[in-house]
């Protein structure tokens, strides 16, 4: 099984303009992945499937991930001259930068013919709001068909080239995308009050007379 760096080099040898980068995976699992640019993603996928050395003919898993805007603090050491005229001092300078959020789709590929894997691909959208289109890999691996529909349904990623992109788990008229990190669930559906203070407070708005004994002995949690 080749390392991700070798796979990247093989891809770049055949498709020189493709945007391929290796994303290291910290932690003991060491399943490093390849980040693909959206423009050539389908060509790269076809190459990975048809190349005789890789033959990644089996797409096992397609997951969506939602990354919110993140503030990254970087600490750099700079030397600044001492205003009093002594030797230059080393100071730590913290720079903050905002990494904008994006939606990511992670593909796990295996090979049935050569019995190796996994090779992990990642595709990222430009942002979480309007530029959420990615190329669909369903024409390459049919197993992506239902799973990309699920990523569309729950995250809102639009897959260009998917034969039948519509909601799969939620009903068709549903709005919003439930698996996003900033999804706010509605509190106007019928549910059963559980003992906790904040849940009870929400439920009391809908069931004012349901819990006289419980309401009397419990105060809302701070």
């Amino acid at each position: 099984m080749e390392t991700p760096e070798q796979i990247r080099d093989r891809i770049l040898a055949r498709l020189p303009g493709a945007a391929v980068a290796v994303v290291a995976n910290p932690g003991p699992a060491a399943q490093h992945s390849l980040l693909l640019g959206a423009a050539h993603a389908r060509d790269v996928a076809r190459l990975l499937r048809d190349d005789p050395g890789l033959q990644l003919d089996f797409c096992s898993n397609v997951s969506g991930v939602d990354w919110l805007d993140r503030e990254i603090v970087e600490t750099t050491k700079i030397t600044a001259p001492d205003p009093a005229g002594g030797p230059p001092k080393e100071l730590e300078q913290k720079t903050k930068r905002l990494q904008p959020g994006y939606l990511e789709v992670v593909y796990h590929l295996y090979s049935v013919a050569l019995r190796h894997g996994p090779v992990v691909l990642r595709l990222r959208t430009a942002n979480r709001t309007d530029l959420v289109t990615l190329p669909s890999l369903t024409p390459v691996w049919r197993s992506c068909e239902f799973q990309e529909r699920e990523v569309f349904d729950l995250f809102g990623v639009i897959f260009a080239g998917h034969p039948d992109l519509r909601r799969i788990l939620m009903w068709d008229e549903f709005r919003d995308h439930p698996m996003r990190k900033d999804y706010v669930e509605p509190d106007d559906y019928e549910w059963e009050p559980t003992p906790h203070g904040d849940v009870l407070a929400k439920a009391r708005r809908h069931y004012p007379a349901a819990e006289p004994a419980a309401a009397a002995k419990q105060e809302p949690k701070a």
């Binding site: 932690g27 699992a29 997951s63």
Partner: protein, 390 residues
């Protein structure tokens, strides 16, 4: 020409039956099979367009059992998600637990003691026995053998469930595996009971096969129905007995060699035609191989601890990173993809559900067959809605 002139129905079409008048194809009937249906293995809906009795289009619709399991996984600790994995494929909770524990152990780099690995294999093979027995029963039940094969299957399944209850406390929702081993040890009495069950199961399977395998009605209803080619199966991500019935020798127990499976001597049955009868026979043969593995495991299980001594129950925070762990569950490849950001809850918790992905080619298999065959084909795919919808 209106619908009522040519419709064979004696009563006007009801709310779930709609006649579609199409100039070129004559009258097509669109039937909604489900979600309330005794033969769809749960709340599963198929919108079938029929030309007479032949299926011309089939669209599966599911999501009726969607319980946002993945979102709950993001809001619950790693240990707290373990009972929820029981409820994915609710017939096979031990293997779901193992797949999740395997993924977390990959993520955190934990090791599992030998006795725990043997116990996991014993429980996984018992689960495979009960799942395939249930499948044979359900397939026959859906095909119209109203109850008899199913009740025999359930009678034997009860014995396995009694074993699970004695070990983990619960028949179906076992919540038994932990990260780094198993929750409780098996007593020698339990292992003896498991040995007795393994010895007797072969006799039950012989009787069951006498009832079913040579049955002309079963053969007429399932042979040649729903043929799946190997190329389509691999491309569509089909795994499990369905893939092997199409002739592809891909069993994750042999390919990945997780747990201690490389120590065991077992064969992987393959099908020659890829039809419904092959899917049924592959499962029966897999049951015989499972009995073989069980015999070996129960003979060789060593003494020792069942839990990694360094494993923490509370305050478990794996280092940042991600991992994908998969096992050969009875229905196919069940995998978990976890992303950790160093906190007590996973950042992303994804289940790779075999039943969901095996449904990709349902339409391909059913086209051209009659509506009664649809039920048999769906039965042989072996879906559980808890896993399809999560």
């Amino acid at each position: 020409m209106s619908v009522s002139d040519v419709s064979p129905l004696s009563s006007p079409p009801g709310p779930n039956v709609r006649a579609v008048h199409d100039e070129f194809h004559g009258d097509l009937l669109e039937v909604s099979m489900g979600p309330h249906h005794p033969s769809t293995h749960g709340v599963f809906r198929m919108i079938v367009t029929l030309d007479g009795e032949t299926v011309t289009k089939l669209k599966p619709v599911f999501g009726y059992l969607h319980r946002n399991h993945e979102k709950i996984g993001e809001n619950t600790s790693y240990l707290g998600s373990m009972p929820y994995t029981d409820r994915l494929d609710y017939l096979c909770s031990m293997t779901n637990n193992w797949a999740y524990a395997l993924a977390v152990e990959k993520l955190s780099g934990q090791t599992v003691p030998e006795r725990a690995e043997y116990l996991r294999i014993i429980l996984a093979e018992l689960t495979r026995l009960l799942n395939h027995t249930c499948l044979a029963g359900f397939l026959l039940q859906d095909s119209g053998a109203s109850g008899t094969p199913l009740m025999y299957a359930f009678r034997e399944r009860e014995k396995i469930l009694d074993l699970f209850e004695a070990l983990s406390g619960s028949r179906m929702m076992c919540n038994y595996q932990r990260f780094g081993g198993c929750r409780a040890d098996a007593t020698p009495a339990w292992l003896d009971a498991a040995r007795t069950l393994t010895d007797n199961y072969g006799g039950f399977l012989d009787e069951y096969e006498e009832l079913l395998t040579g049955n002309e009605i079963l053969m007429a209803r399932t042979q040649g129905i729903g043929r799946l080619t190997a190329k389509l199966a691999i491309g569509a991500g089909i795994t499990g007995p369905m893939l092997r019935a199409a002739g592809v020798a891909y069993d994750i127990r042999k390919v990945d060699g997780y747990g201690l499976y490389p120590r065991f001597n077992f064969r992987v049955p393959l099908g020659a035609h890829g039809d419904t009868y092959d899917r049924y026979m592959v499962r029966v043969l897999e049951m015989r191989e499972s009995i073989n593995i069980l015999r070996q495991a129960l003979r060789d299980i060593p003494d020792g601890p069942v839990m990694d001594p360094k494993a923490k129950l509370r305050g478990f925070r794996p280092k940042p990173g991600e991992a994908y762990g998969r096992i050969e569950g009875p229905k196919g490849e069940i995998g978990f993809f976890l992303i950790s950001e160093g906190g007590p809850n996973p950042y992303r918790y994804r289940v790779r559900p075999p039943s969901f992905i095996n449904l990709t080619i349902l339409e391909d298999l059913c086209l051209g067959h009659s509506v009664a065959d649809t039920v048999a084909i769906l039965g042989s795919i072996d879906i559980v809605l808890g896993e399809v919808d999560r």
